[in-house]
């Protein structure tokens, strides 16, 4: 008996001493970190031969910056999450990441087990899958139901005109503004303002023809959105700067956000959360009432870097996590974000989460959530959209039509 125990101990020692040690970077979000720490602890206990160390993506302007800086410095992790499809395409373009297709039938089996066959199609780059989608967040609008009720509303505004009417009742142009129309100054903020409005107004039509590498939003719908943004700023129904936490302080009535904010809001502003109304993004006045409103999908996935010490071991871990629906249930519990699965509304494992108004709203909009256009120069395009389109509208630098036409020309230059 003693001899067997000694052999087992020796085996464990040898396995640990010669085990593969992989570094895994997770999103700088405490709820996601918590999920991954649980997963990795369980895995490390089961597999002493493949030990994984979880690290948060280092602090930087964005996760993309941190990853690129690490790649340039040769400090990249073995695999990493929090990668959006466009960034995945950029990394694939420079040969920094490894295609999941290389794992052959094991990968196909994982896709089938996780019920994500049609979701993963949208993540294809040059006929290969470099990013394994984890979650898909439809971006939705939150409204201050308590204040709207006081103003005589039973539902949040749906169209641009309804927002103008609400603004006349609420906005004073100094301390009270109707909504956050523009999400911010960062390049990724364009996904959550103009591109979202465009998806909503067109039934999910793409804003860039990726095959022709040309802008498609220079149309009548693009002009309607340009006029909406311009009108909101011109009449001071919104402002360039809205201060800290304007939604929770009641300075604004509505803003766009993703499910990642739910837990944070519940922790920080528990009194406001029960009064939140959720809606799809606003649409032009002539948008049919019975047609579904599309929005942008804030989707993120996982990649294995080309420099990974043991790609097969990394894939084994990924496969172990995502083959079990219970792990996706734990993901929902921790992060409130809908996993990138097609059976969320039908699988009994997720039934209890549908009772939560936030999760129900977000997961039921997953079918109408469209990811950003899959181009390799997303940052430049979004930056040009800020400089030549959104900012001139915010600062009222010309007529909306002229601004739109100039922006189309400038962004086409970037695309070409």
């Amino acid at each position: 008996m003693k001899r067997v125990a000694s052999v087992v101990m020796l085996l464990i020692f040898v396995l640990t001493a010669f085990s593969v040690k992989l570094t895994f970077w997770t999103a700088p979000n405490p709820y996601q970190e918590e999920f991954w720490k649980i997963m990795v602890t369980q895995w490390n206990k089961q597999r002493p031969d493949v030990q994984i160390e979880v690290q948060t993506i280092p602090a930087a302007g964005s996760s993309e910056e941190a990853i690129l800086t690490a790649l340039a410095a040769g400090n990249a992790p073995d695999f990493c999450e929090n990668i959006f499809s466009g960034f995945g395409a950029q990394l694939a373009d420079i040969g920094a990441i490894y295609a999941f297709d290389n794992f052959g039938t094991d990968f196909t089996k994982l896709v089938q087990t996780r019920k994500m066959a049609s979701i993963i199609e949208k993540w294809e780059v040059s006929g290969k899958h470099y990013v394994f989608p984890i979650y898909s967040n439809p971006m939705l609008f939150w409204w201050r139901g308590d204040i709207l009720k006081q103003l005589g509303y039973n539902n949040p505004p749906r169209t641009y005109s309804e927002i103008y009417d609400l603004s006349k009742k609420f906005a004073d142009g100094k301390k009270k503004f109707t909504m956050q129309v523009i999400s911010g100054r960062n390049w990724w903020d364009r996904w959550y303002d103009f591109i979202t409005y465009y998806y909503a107004a067109t039934g999910g039509k793409t804003y860039i023809d990726t095959a022709k590498r040309k802008v498609t939003f220079g149309d009548a719908t693009g002009l309607k959105i340009a006029n909406f943004i311009y009108t909101m700023f011109q009449n001071k129904y919104t402002a360039v700067e809205l201060g800290t936490n304007p939604f929770y302080t009641g300075s604004i009535l509505g803003k766009i956000t993703g499910p990642w904010e739910v837990n944070q809001a519940k922790d920080t502003f528990p009194k406001v959360v029960p009064n939140i109304w959720i809606s799809t993004p606003p649409v032009p006045d002539d948008y049919p009432k019975d047609k579904p409103v599309y929005t942008i999908a804030d989707s993120k996935g996982l990649v294995i870097f080309s420099t990974c010490k043991d790609k097969k071991a990394a894939f084994e871990f990924i496969s172990w996590v995502f083959s079990n629906a219970q792990n996706d249930a734990l993901w929902i519990e921790k992060t409130q974000m809908p996993p990138a699965r097609e059976d969320l509304t039908t699988n009994s494992v997720f039934a209890k989460y549908m009772e939560d108004k936030f999760f129900k709203a977000y997961s039921s909009n997953v079918p109408y959530a469209v990811p950003p256009a899959l181009i390799t120069n997303t940052i430049d395009v979004n930056q040009a959209m800020s400089t030549h389109f959104v900012e001139p509208l915010m600062y009222l630098k010309g007529k909306p039509e002229d601004i739109l036409n100039k922006a189309v020309k400038e962004i086409n230059k970037v695309l070409f």
């Binding site: 302007g61 993309e64 910056e65 690129l68 800086t69 790649l71 340039a72 950029q90 420079i94 040969g95 920094a96 100094k174 301390k175 100054r185 960062n186 390049w187 402002a239 360039v240 700067e241 809205l242 201060g243 800290t244 304007p246 300075s251 120069n377 940052i379 430049d380 800020s386 400089t387 900012e391 001139p392 915010m394 600062y395 630098k397």
Partner: protein, 294 residues
């Protein structure tokens, strides 16, 4: 007789042991990056592939790059605010310091604290301080019923960033000017006063001309500082609004690490260095005077 034989073996070993660390240091931390910089400026590289030779493509690209041209204008705009702000405030600080009788060291150190503060920390602090609903605007709103778009108006954003940079460097540059003031012999003032010169004349005819070396030093340092602005606009305005606070440094960083184009970023760095060197030489040629106290 050969030169080598002038020194014994021991002396030669000693000599080499003294210079080798310096040569090695220079080769690793200066020579290698310099050669790599030259390679990058004339090639196309994306961190992973082998650099491919593109001749002058990176340099020619700049002429059609509207962002680069915008940054040149932005830098001139920054200089137009920063140079007078820094020169006037540091001069006033130095003149005031000269009049202080007690606690001079304490005052000097107090102002130098800003200079050693973390750029990230104070940028976040100022960002909140000057936010639309921040304390500064709340005071303005209470007193005058108006709020100031410190960082959201293109021109005001440049001014606000210059204000922060001036706050940071006031103590340091003030100290340089103070040292310059200390060098001016008291006898010159006394002689001028005997000739009936008033305070105004003393300042314009003695202090300012004799402070020329220190003023030029501060101007040169401020120019180099302007070409290197990064932390404040990067954290506070993100280079906006309307790309008006985008600086050479921000563009280099974004080009290298967001656009994955380190070659073009290096080329921008080379040209930026040449531009700042050119401007420094111009300023020295126009304003620098030889000063003698004898």
């Amino acid at each position: 007789m050969s030169k080598r034989s002038q020194f014994g073996r021991k002396e030669r070993v000693f000599g080499y042991s003294v210079i080798i660390p310096y040569i090695a240091y220079t080769a690793i931390f200066w020579g290698y990056p310099f050669v790599w910089m030259l390679i990058l400026a004339f090639t196309k590289w994306n961190f992973f592939s082998k650099p491919s030779f593109v001749w002058l493509d990176n340099f020619l690209k700049m002429f059609t790059d509207s962002v680069f041209l915008q940054i040149i204008l932005n830098t001139l705009n920054f200089l137009a605010y920063l140079i007078p702000m820094i020169l006037i405030s540091s001069l006033l600080f130095a003149l005031a310091l000269k009049r202080v009788k007690f606690g001079r060291t304490f005052i000097m150190l107090s102002f130098l604290i800003a200079n050693v503060s973390s750029g990230v920390a104070y940028s976040l602090l100022f960002s909140n301080l000057f936010a639309v609903n921040g304390p500064v605007n709340r005071i303005f709103d209470a007193l005058f019923g108006v709020t100031i778009p410190w960082f959201s108006d293109p021109q005001l954003a440049i001014f606000s960033i210059c204000l922060i940079i001036t706050w940071k460097f006031l103590g340091y540059y003030g100290l340089i000017l103070y040292a310059g003031l200390q060098q001016i012999p008291q006898s010159l003032y006394e002689a001028a006063e005997l000739d009936g010169a008033n305070g105004n004349v003393l300042f314009w005819k003695i202090t300012l001309p004799l402070l020329n070396p220190s003023l030029v030093t501060v101007t040169v340092l401020a120019i180099m500082l302007t070409f290197g602005i990064f932390t404040e606009p990067y954290l506070i305005t993100g280079g906006g609004p309307m790309q008006r606070t985008t600086t050479f440094m921000i563009y280099m960083y974004d080009t290298a690490f967001k656009r994955i184009d380190p070659s073009y970023a290096t080329t921008i760095a080379v040209v930026t260095a040449l531009l700042s060197y050119g401007l420094v030489m111009l300023i020295r040629k126009v304003f620098e005077r030889e000063v003698s106290f004898v």
